[in-house]
Symmetry: C2
Subunit: 414 residues, 2 copies
């Protein structure tokens, strides 16, 4: 289908989506979950084509694993949709009410964004997941998944559309862009007339391409060059546990720790303990000159190291003279994601919390908690690293905007 | 100064701005107001150069008037800054607190955006006004005003910077881009490393250029193709008063009414009354065929008319069969600004409020009230017509983002 026609249909569907009652949405989410399980064999068969193509194209084993759909994964997808059904509906929440001296009554009410565009890479589970969140929050969604994943995405989208249609609802509340031509994606990012918000989900390259080319407002997500600062008043055992967790529990995620900042007063005691702990997982340390006075056999960290999100068993180490220098270093190199201080000193903690410019600032807690589920939102569409609209984990509520309604009896402006 | 150096300085200044206490900010705003008045003669003399150049370049008289600075206008500018000082400080407001089962305590706290870029046209009063709002909300600001206004803007900015410096604060909390080269503005819009948010203020062309070229997140403001729908159950006197007010009280503003939608059942009674009322201000009516059965001597409205923000004594008229068609027409042509229904029918009002997709939806109130002051925000940086972050009038609170702070005692993720 021609892209603009698809946009036009989504715009029509968004008005329907916005008016659905919570009960209808929840019931449809359960029916869609049932249908995806009933269609699991067909979907897995289509996924096999993507897998076969992936193998032919020498896709990286890690990516192939992300691409794979299995019966247990289909069950997890269905369960995810049922969980979204159980979450509170953000639409129509009255956020504020006030009355003006002239008698007009103003309400600020939560409303859907409208049409949300999601651009993502080769993970077919994003397709039902993003639909579920957008749908529950009253939005229509246009999905542009990776071409490596097209057969899987088509099969999933077809199943969801059929369930909507069979139940008497507009199937265009979910649409998939099937064209794999880059020019189509480029055009999609500029369809301001039809799309209200774009959310890219994927690697840094994808996100940069969307930010640079879109004219539709974008919520930038996911790049995390996360630091942990070990203060001179740190509890070293806490520091070791948290660093070990944040660096090694899962290396490929945006809330993993990529860089340590260590107070120079404790480097002689702390760094050998750190090296021993990280050696358990063969983590490579790249350190500045001052840290290398203690860790004599590690590589020198370059400027580039401090700016790199490794997503690997590598960590950089910078020594500083105190919390001020730690904050300055972090504010220079971080990506606005998650930053942590380990300290038992309340004043240092306060200063760090206040001055570090990031979505999530932690005191004595692993950065790995930056996550919609861990925050108790019950869902997550992504983690915003920009400051407009939403910052940090985004759940259903963050997929809504608001409107003002103003009711009076003939007020005019003098 | 080189643009990137200016960006680097702003980024440094934003950390200082974010930490200023409310008392310090308010005291500085009063001192800056005093200094602008003390410098009024100098500023007016520099403004005279801009005025002289404007006349030489045959600037439109309306624009020349907007460019002009006088002693009373300088007093209004100073008074504006004092009013901003009297408003509540949004920074540091605890928006939410919650605790997770693992014991970590999460706070959602209001924080400044950081560096705000304002791109605007030839109105020198925007310079102190935008600075005041950004400064009170804890932000550093980079201003790019129209080249027609450069001497005035330099004089105002110099005065503010000197007051900051003389009081021991970083003058880079306000910086002006003096280069008039378009390529500099284009580069500015892509300085994501240094600028957190861009807010364009001006005509539709300026705003489009920013939206199309910026990679920094933009808050789109100000285009208003605002409709008033006169329902079959309208109080006609209210309708006439509101339309007269919304169309003619000030024609060049974004919350002025540009288009009427009229229920066909009342067209024979209502349209002649409307024509008589609008004739008082010589408003030209352009109407669809059905309305022209009643208003036989008016021009036929084209598709283009329905999509035009006239900013002039012109109004388009579309007849519809009911509130559904009215909503569909408005959702097709509006710019997400302000839309109004005139009706005494609660059901029609409810439907309209719920289904019209715009920042401000009015029932029996003039669209001219879409304004930060009229809403009681005490200030306004602009009116957002997009759905990300802020929608409708934006005051101090909307110039803040938020961060999460998470405090624990060693929590790690399982």
């Amino acid at each position: 289908m021609e892209l603009r026609e698809l946009g036009r249909r989504a715009k029509e569907a968004k008005y329907e989506a916005a008016l659905l009652s919570t009960e209808v949405k929840n019931s449809l989410l359960h029916k869609i979950a049932d249908a995806l399980l009933a269609d699991a064999d067909k979907i897995i068969a289509q996924n096999a084509i993507d897998m076969e193509n992936g193998r032919k194209n020498n896709m990286h084993p890690g990516l192939l694993d992300r691409l794979l759909l299995t019966q247990p994964r289909m069950e997890a997808i269905a369960e995810g949709l049922r969980q979204v059904a159980s979450l509170p509906d953000p639409v129509g929440t009255v956020l504020e009410t006030f009355e003006r001296p002239n008698g007009m009554k103003i309400e600020k009410v939560s409303v859907p964004m409208g049409v949300i565009g999601i651009i993502y890479e080769s993970r077919p589970n994003v397709t039902p997941d993003a639909f579920g969140l957008c749908f529950k929050s009253g939005n229509a969604v246009i999905l542009k998944g990776g071409s490596d994943c097209l057969y899987s995405n088509k099969a999933i989208t077809d199943s969801i559309r059929r369930t909507l249609l069979e139940n008497g609802y507009n199937p265009d509340m979910i649409q998939l862009i099937e064209a794999t031509d880059r020019s189509v994606t480029a055009e999609f990012m500029k369809m301001k007339e039809y799309v209200d918000v774009l959310i890219p989900r994927g690697g840094a390259g994808l996100i940069r391409a969307v930010v640079e080319n879109a004219t539709i407002p974008v919520i930038e997500t996911g790049t995390g060059n996360c630091h942990i600062y070990v203060d001179k008043d740190a509890d070293m055992q806490k520091a070791l546990n948290i660093i070990y967790n944040a660096k090694t529990q899962r290396i490929g995620v945006c809330n993993a720790c990529e860089s340590l900042v260590v107070h120079e007063d404790i480097k002689r005691e702390f760094l050998p303990l750190l090296a021993a702990k990280l050696a358990e997982k063969d983590v490579e340390i790249r350190a500045d000159e001052s840290a290398r006075e203690v860790l004599t056999d590690v590589t020198l960290a370059t400027e580039e190291d401090f700016g790199t999100e490794y997503l690997d068993y590598i960590i950089s180490v910078k020594t500083v003279s105190g919390v001020e220098e730690a904050v300055a270093h972090i504010n220079r190199y971080n990506t606005g994601h998650s930053e942590c201080i380990i300290t038992e000193n309340a004043e240092a903690a306060e200063k760090f919390k206040k001055q570090v410019d990031a979505a999530c600032v932690y005191v004595n807690v692993s950065t790995r908690f930056t996550d919609g589920f861990e925050f108790g939102f019950g869902a997550e569409i992504g983690i915003s690293t920009q400051k407009l609209h939403a910052r940090g984990p985004m759940g259903l509520r963050e997929l809504n905007s608001y409107k003002y309604t103003i009711v009076g009896d003939g007020q005019i402006r003098a």
